[in-house]
């Protein structure tokens, strides 16, 4: 890579010991992000997307962490807590899903924003901080900011509270904003307002944005690059266009096919069968194989590494299917099916039969 990345995460592992065993929440994830870009991290509940980013910020205490996360020359995974406290908020800030529980109910929002400013910039007076809070509330589109700055969180609606969170997140002009499901709790029209605001602020200040979401629609809307996570690993990484139109990993393909779309209203959806695995007892080989319609023998024993697929070289997928079998075309499908036929013996055939026998399996979706 010739361009210096703002954040470069290499082979990050995070585990938590519990009474039931070691929960392998993140298992070797690498990515980097540049200024002014948006990385969408997509995955279902329990795929490790939130643990991943909280670890970067030192917000996941008790984890067994290994790997590297270089941000502006420092490794976020090894910096001492007091130095991390200087980075968090000032250089990397976070927007959480639920703005009501992230704001303190007993303090005025203006106080909460100015506290953040004063914690990092010791020379700022209270009056200056409040003036900046007013300006920030105005920037995120809260009407009458000079009055609203004295209101409590409960006096704001959900969308307005999320705007307050965003005002707080941008208050110190961070280089990187991590937004963890920022619009999931909001209505569609409000979600559109908030995404619009995030994009505008990002364009104004060249901030990098990591958008964690389970909603592919949000990713389609604002991401530049996308990382799809499954069971603590990156299943596929690519520019947005390739994820949506040239997917390689069967999990990505399955997610796209699960979404109701306008062209097939009323028809049958093609869900991914089964449930995500337990992160304590992960399946052998590829963690997705017990749900994969294209399961082959080697998937049961060997875990595929993230390797380049397609032409450009930036598109990477962790799957044993041939690198050329990308996309949703019939040709790619035929290629996948040929490969699966060659790659299957008794063991994989048995699993494929189990998958096809599940009540939720759609007809013809499993290569039998």
């Amino acid at each position: 890579m010739s361009i210096v990345s703002l954040l470069e995460v290499t082979d990050l592992h995070v585990g938590f010991s519990t009474a039931d065993g070691l929960v392998q929440a993140v298992r070797g994830v690498s990515f980097n992000i540049e200024s002014g870009k948006t990385l969408g991290i997509v995955g279902e509940s329990g795929s490790g997307k939130t643990v991943l980013t909280q670890t970067l910020l030192g917000l996941a205490p008790g984890g067994q962490v290994s790997g590297k996360a270089i941000f502006g020359g420092t490794d976020l995974l090894t910096v001492p807590p007091d130095q991390m406290r200087k980075i968090r908020g000032a250089q990397i800030s976070v927007i959480f899903q639920d703005p009501l529980t992230s704001l303190h109910p007993l303090y005025r929002v203006g106080w909460q924003i100015s506290e953040m400013i004063r914690a990092h910039e010791k020379t700022v007076t209270k009056a200056q901080a409040t003036a900046r809070a007013v300006e920030l509330l105005g920037r995120v589109g809260i009407p009458r900011p000079a009055e609203r700055v004295h209101d409590y969180p409960h006096q704001f609606s959900g969308g307005m509270r999320q705007r307050v969170m965003i005002a707080m997140a941008i208050s110190l002009a961070p280089k990187l904003i991590i937004a963890d499901e920022p619009t999931t709790a909001l209505d569609a029209t409000v979600q559109a307002q908030i995404l619009d605001l995030l994009l505008r602020l990002q364009q104004e200040s060249d901030t990098a944005l990591i958008m964690i979401t389970h909603d592919l629609g949000v990713v389609a809307d604002i991401a530049d690059d996308v990382m799809v996570m499954y069971a603590g690993r990156a299943a596929e990484k690519a520019v947005k266009h390739d994820i949506f139109y040239e997917p390689h990993h069967p999990y990505t393909k399955g997610l796209l096919e699960s979404i109701p779309n306008s062209s097939a209203a009323g028809g049958r959806l093609r869900p991914i069968t089964g449930q995500p695995p337990s992160l304590i007892n992960l399946p052998s080989g590829c963690a997705f194989h017990p749900r994969c319609a294209y399961v082959m023998d080697r998937c049961l024993t060997d875990e595929p590494a993230l390797t380049a697929v397609g032409d450009a070289g930036v598109h990477r997928s962790a799957c044993w299917l041939p690198a050329a079998a990308i996309g949703l075309t019939e040709e790619a499908e035929a290629q996948r099916r040929r490969m699966v036929e060659q790659g299957r013996n008794e063991a994989a055939v048995k699993i494929a039969e189990e998958i096809a026998a599940r009540p939720e399996a759609a007809e013809g979706s499993v290569v039998a």
Partner: protein, 362 residues
């Protein structure tokens, strides 16, 4: 499977029923206001939350009516009124040709079998300390149908039908994942072979791949048992997928109502158009090409709704008339008679409401 319920109890044939044989639920001008009481020693009513304010809808047998709207538009209140869970302020709910508005508990009992609900939160709607077999068997217990071994086998049939392993009869809800818990909720709703299931955000809490499994299950059950659904959701793509007809609500009133295809393809109400343009589609090219209507502000308080058209303070097309006169819900711009819109200045075909693309060309 068919022995779970004794038989499809033949409804009383009346002239009214034969006239509108395919209508299952008829809601006429339903109003539900909640009083707001002041503090102090003697609490008096100081206002009304106009949660539902004059809504009419018709749900046909074996079909799905999608109910869309944002938080606080009254869609859940409307569903609870139809299910008879809360008394209505005025208006009429007819089920299967019979008026069921504000019936007494005893008179309502037979209709409770016919109308079931599935809730949003698969965690909160199942008692964590009871075994799923007994949760699913509850409707049988309440209505005195089957006992002992027969009830157990009926419950196991239901579990199998909704894609659960019947051997898991003795497990607790905590031992199931979110999608499986929603299946438990579906099995419980299905137990008495209702004619109507009210689904209040049934898939909102589920991951996409699991959401698709549950939507397919609901579609299969509709085909097999001729169920009608009142399907409440805020996800417009999900509603488009499941519904035959759609009702769009705003602040307690119907903004637009009609068959799915016409409402989605030629939305007349600016609010519907804004909702549709705001819903994120999982398709980057469509997202790029779309003209987005970004509404300003929030939904006003239902205690003090705006005068005239309730949407006018946020409407990109609002004119002076809109603040004065409430528009009637009627057919506009040569739409089919089933497509109703409450707007003085409905959106023309091909009209663009957006303020232009927000994206800088890159």
């Amino acid at each position: 499977m068919s022995d779970i319920m004794p038989s499809d109890t033949a409804p009383i044939g009346s002239l009214e029923r034969s006239l509108q044989d395919d209508v299952l639920v008829q809601v006429d001008n339903l109003v539900k206001h909640f009083p707001v009481r002041g503090g102090g020693l003697i609490s008096r009513t100081i206002g009304q939350v106009q949660a539902v304010d004059g809504v009419s809808l018709t749900l046909k047998r074996g079909q799905t009516m999608g109910l869309v709207g944002e938080t606080g538009c009254g869609k859940s209140t409307l569903a609870r009124c139809i299910a008879g869970l809360i008394p209505v302020t005025s208006g009429k709910v007819a089920f299967d040709g019979q008026d069921i508005t504000n019936l007494s508990r005893r008179a309502m009992q037979p209709f409770r079998r016919e109308i079931q609900m599935i809730f949003q939160d698969p965690y909160g709607s199942l008692n964590p300390r009871r075994r799923v077999g007994s949760i699913i068997g509850d409707p049988f217990a309440i209505h005195n149908i089957h006992d002992g071994q027969k009830r157990k086998s009926a419950v196991q049939d239901l579990m199998e039908r909704v894609g659960l392993n019947p051997e898991h009869f003795n497990r607790f809800p905590a031992e199931f994942s979110g999608g499986q818990r929603q299946r438990i909720g579906v099995a419980r709703a299905l137990a008495l072979r209702p004619k109507l299931i009210i689904c209040d955000e049934p898939v909102s809490a589920l991951d996409v791949s699991i959401q698709a499994q549950v939507l397919n299950l609901l579609a299969d059950l509709q085909d097999d048992f001729g169920l009608a659904y009142l399907f409440i959701a805020h996800d417009l793509e999900v509603v488009r997928h499941v519904s035959h007809d759609v009702t769009v609500m705003y602040l307690g009133r119907v903004a637009e109502q009609g068959p799915r295809a016409t409402v989605y393809d030629s939305a007349r109400h600016p609010y519907t158009a804004a909702l549709l343009s705001a819903a994120p589609a999982a398709d980057p090219e469509a997202a790029e090409a779309r003209q987005r209507i970004i509404l300003t502000g929030d939904v006003p308080s239902p205690i003090n709704p705006p005068s005239g058209c309730r949407f006018h303070p946020r409407c990109p097309k609002a004119q002076e008339l809109c603040g004065r006169d409430e528009p009637a819900l009627e057919t506009r711009l040569g739409d089919p008679a089933s497509h109703l819109t409450a707007c003085h200045f409905p959106v023309q075909d091909g009209e663009i409401l957006a303020r232009g693309s927000r994206r800088d060309p890159r």
